[in-house]
């Protein structure tokens, strides 16, 4: 399940927008301009089923997203979707992994408190006995230079 964001969860001044998400979902997003820096030395790891529903998260995922594990398991991965991310980036992600190939890109993720964090994300299909059974996504600390390039590029992709 994916719920609209609640003002009481948000830290700081926020803006509001309604995002159309994959699978015909829509969600009211409340977002701020507060960045949480990516911690050194950590990886954020999650797995989803074939439909993009979260089945596993590690502790770094919980800490950086601000959600509890119970809120994340069973939720669509688009719970992290930030309105500044162009839909074309996610179309490219799904088009790539659906052909069985790894995808890599720089992503601005949304936190439960309305803030954001940048990651370098790699998504890989989990192939078991020849069948894709889900996807693993691993995020690491991005280069600030690459993030600055994305901050300029992404608004041009809408």
């Amino acid at each position: 399940m994916l719920h609209d964001m609640k003002p009481e969860d948000i830290v700081g001044d926020f803006q509001e927008v309604t995002l159309a998400l994959y699978g015909g979902l829509s969600r009211k997003i409340l977002y701020t301009d507060i960045e949480t820096p990516y911690p050194d030395g950590k990886l954020i790891v999650s797995t989803t089923d074939k439909e993009g529903v979260i089945t596993h998260v590690n502790q770094s995922f919980i800490e950086m997203s601000g959600f509890g594990e119970e809120e994340l398991i069973g939720a669509p991965h688009s719970i992290l979707r930030h309105p500044d991310m162009p839909p074309a980036a996610f179309k490219d992600l799904w088009d790539t992994v659906n052909t069985g190939v790894k995808w890599q890109g720089f992503v601005k993720n949304l936190r439960k408190d309305g803030g954001y964090y940048w990651v370098k994300a790699t998504v890989i299909p989990n192939v078991r006995e020849g069948e894709v059974v889900g996807y693993t996504s691993v995020r690491r600390k991005p280069s600030r230079t690459k993030v600055e390039e994305c901050i300029k590029l992404y608004p041009t992709l809408f």
Binding site: K42, V45, N58, K120, V123, I124, K141, S143, T145
Partner: protein
Amino acid sequence: MSYQFTVSPDFTPIHLSGWYIFNTWLQKQTDNAIHLEMYNDFQEQRDAIKNDNVDLIYANPFDAAMLVREKGFKPLVKSAGESDEAIIAVNAENHVEDVAHLEAGIRLAVTDDPDVRMMGMIMLEPGDLDESNIEVIPSDTYVIVAKHLLKNEADAGIFLAESYDELSKMIRRQLRVLVRSQISVIHHSLMIGPRLLDQREKIHDTLIQMNNDDKGRGVLESLGFEQWQTVDDEEMEFMIDLMDTLTM
């Protein structure tokens, strides 16, 4: 029939005799003739695996994908509660405070330990460093990595965290850790090859019960381990997928 056992060449030197003691223990417990072959480097070991000479291996996570997907190996156990972590360190007198401030062209002391090198290079990415804009200073051991830093022959070094922590206090006082990984899910594993697969359950159970008697505990101690912990097929597949994302 005699089987061959081998250990990832990045084992800590003080545990060399421990692996021979473990092999003797394992032969007695499982009633198999097992020869322990220690290879000098990863390439020699990979050649042996490719030639189907290896039946049992304490494997570096970097080689797990090849062992499982190309050679039909299955996981048995790992050292309980342990994972491979990497450290980026500099000479204590170096003024750099953040790994992101290391500059292109730095001299980086590294061993040929593949998973540690990979984790270390990932931690250098925030500073826009990669294999193309660093000067690699090859080092046989982590002690040599430390020596390169102390003599200012390298600007930064990549260590296996466990090996860094085992350096003498005097050496560590002259070094400074910029970043230590906290990945938790990358680990060495004892893996079993196709010729021994029919004994997988028996060998697994023997290993899992190893810490239940004094003799077994003593052998584990000689390896620096407390006890073995099961690695099932899905945990191994998960680690292989994760390693796959990190090698891109």
